[in-house]
Amino acid sequence: MKTRLFVITSNVAPLSAVLITAAVILIPAERSGWDMSGTASQFVFFLTTVLIYSIFCIGLNVQWGYTGIFNFGVAAFFLVGSYTAAVFVKGDPPPPDPVTGQDYVQYIGGFGDDLNLFPALGTDEWLPFIVAILMAALVAGILAFLIAIPALRLRGDYLAITTIGIAELLRAIVVEEPSLFNSSKAIPDIPSPLSGLFSSSEYDYVYVGLLVLLVGLLFLLVERSIRSPWGRVLRAVREDEIATSACGKNPFEFKTQAFVIGAMIMGVGGAVYGFDRHSLSPDTFAPISTTFLFWTMVMVGGSGNTKGAILGAYVVYGFYFAMIQVQGYDLPGWISTTRISALRDTAIGLLIVLVLLWRPHGLLPEEARVSMWVERRLRRGGKGGPAPPLGPALDKPDK
């Protein structure tokens, strides 16, 4: 009995992925009366969102999973990345709003139509977007650097409350200053990369492909740097800052670097979110639908494991998506849609607590060996070093 239970719990990761996949395919299929093309487009939408969200989770994992930085303001970097990228790719503003007669804001960047340097290569279809993504990463990184100065030297919960505060402050600025980003009227018509080359029905699949490439690139970058000496210092900082500084490494410096790099990855996520949704309004960046969700994803997937972060995004957003689908059913009156979405958020909140209590290392725990050098020796049949402890210092008192 005990071994059986063990087998089940050790296979939770693939099991949950299979269950979630079944739910996100079967529920929309059943609702649409087993119409396969509708189901496929729903699944593509699901995959697009999962891929975008996994970018945020990869960034958060660099900060929390590997370095132990308690960033609770993912929404701030999301917001900054999205709006920066949107400003850089937007073309001329649309005609004035037909209802109110108000002009939309003219943007400073607006490379949308202007960056066609080599028409033969079709640069207008991709160059502005690359510039926008880089700018989004840059601006998010600068914001992270500015936050790091006052908050990163202090205890973890100071950083948490500061980042929550900054995320809310930025959202308040977007809402209260309509001349910046149209306030709650939203920025409309954000273009997408390569969209001129495909029909709109094909484009959804193309965008999933682009996102897979982007997530793969970020995954390789993060894995490569985590297995480098730099990455080992990050984990040393996470485990014991005092011991790390005794070894001659400045923990504040490394924490700042990890915080900035994580934030830049989140900025990239914000940029591609805007390209996908075509429109941005401040409501998108409410903490519940962003920061909380990403934290749950990283905690469920496994802090300190990039694959875990992606799996967490898949599983948790799958649950979220399935609950949204359930809302579409004809439900009895007392189960209102408010109640279902509230139930979903309650579950997300409780999930964080339950993971902390029962499975603190998540679905995919941190891998034991994270040095390329050791791995190479192991493959040649040599002896590896001792396995480092798992996950962010969950089992150790804070010093």
Binding site: G165, A172, L357, P360, P392, L394
Partner: protein, 350 residues
């Protein structure tokens, strides 16, 4: 010198806004808001001092307590409106319980409701400690883990309020009530006077409990050095329970006062977390008395900055748009972390 400097700058702002006739009403509202913040921040600092973690569910617990009071007073459960699905027995049924006392809007049923909310809230917090925080303590987890757990709980509490009572704002008593005109041109509602008086009484009670009772002495000992307290024969586990009980009462009173000041809605909790932490950190985290000072600074600055008119070189600096009200707390928080992270009244870090 930064500490006294900031304090003097704030005192100048407070005195100016109190003396100037146009801004006096913002100053007075600020004091009312500060009373609510003070109770919440004292609770925050109490938990921080004894249990050593930032209780991010503080705001949402206050909101939950306010709903619990609403529940025992009106008996309303599972309903978008006040009169749907009412429990057979509730406090408003008591004879004469809704007749307004003095110039207040409510009768003695709400006073009983506060007591009911206090009992329920302490029970809930002790239960959460048994179920969650104690297990994490036994694992000797990193402090940040406690904060993450409390953030998860905050989200769960906020969303479960939506399940039970829906998104519509509620108030304990419906209808408007006139303001009182006091000397010095101070205009206050009866309920606002009740808020200030209750907060002062509650703060004084907690202060004397901490300073003059054996329990308070033990709590201060645990806050100072848990290991030393344990080997001195103090049952630290029991002290943790008592801390949650006292915090529960503070949260319940603060929550009901908050709902009297604003309207009761599920978003109330999240909005107030930032001013609460700003007050606690400004006053020096872990220091219950400092929290009162911090709360006064945050509350008054917040209200005055959306009322006071200030122009520099023809540019309008103040008043801020009303949407920035809670951003003031964020700015104060960042400022204090930059110049004096131990808080205005806190000790120098060791």
């Amino acid at each position: 010198m930064t500490g006294p400097g900031i304090f003097l700058a704030f005192a100048a702002l407070a005195i100016y806004s109190a003396v100037d006739h146009d801004t006096r009403k913002f100053f007075v509202t600020g004091v009312v808001v500060a009373s609510v913040y003070a109770l919440g921040a004292i609770g925050l600092n109490l938990i921080y001092g004894v249990l050593k973690f930032g209780h991010f569910a503080q705001g949402d617990s206050m909101m939950l307590a306010a709903y619990l009071a609403f529940f025992v007073v009106s008996g309303s459960i599972l309903g978008e409106r006040r009169d749907t699905q009412v429990l057979p027995v509730h406090l408003d049924d008591l004879p004469g319980s809704t007749d307004p006392i003095w110039e207040l809007t409510f009768g003695y049923s709400l006073l009983l409701g506060i007591i009911g909310a206090g009992l329920l809230m302490s029970g809930i917090l002790v239960l959460l400690d048994r179920l969650i925080y104690r297990r994490l303590r036994e694992r000797r987890g990193n402090i940040v883990i406690f904060s993450i757990a409390s953030l998860g709980l905050a989200l769960a509490i906020r969303s479960s309020m939506l399940i039970f009572w829906g998104p519509n704002p509620r108030s304990y008593v419906e209808g408007i009530h006139p303001a009182l005109h006091l000397p010095f041109d101070i205009v206050l509602k009866g309920d606002q006077i009740f808020i200030i008086v209750t907060a002062v009484v509650m703060a004084a009670a907690v202060y004397s409990l901490l300073m003059f009772s054996k329990l308070g002495k033990a709590m201060r000992a645990v806050a100072d050095n848990p290991e030393l307290a344990l080997i001195s024969g103090i049952n630290t586990d029991q002290i943790f329970v008592w801390t949650w009980v006292i915090a529960g009462w503070l949260i319940a009173v603060a929550g009901v006062l908050l709902a009297l000041q604003a309207q009761l809605n599920p978003n109330l909790g999240f909005i107030i977390v930032l001013p609460l932490f700003a007050s606690a950190i400004l006053g020096g985290i872990g220091s219950p008395l400092g929290a009162i000072g911090g709360a006064l600074i945050v509350g008054i600055t917040q209200e005055v900055s959306v009322g006071l008119e200030v122009s520099v070189f023809g540019e309008h600096l103040l008043p801020l748009a009303a949407g920035y009200k809670f951003s003031v707390a964020v700015v104060l928080l960042i400022l204090i972390l930059l110049v004096r992270p131990q808080g205005l009244f806190g000790r120098e870090p060791a």
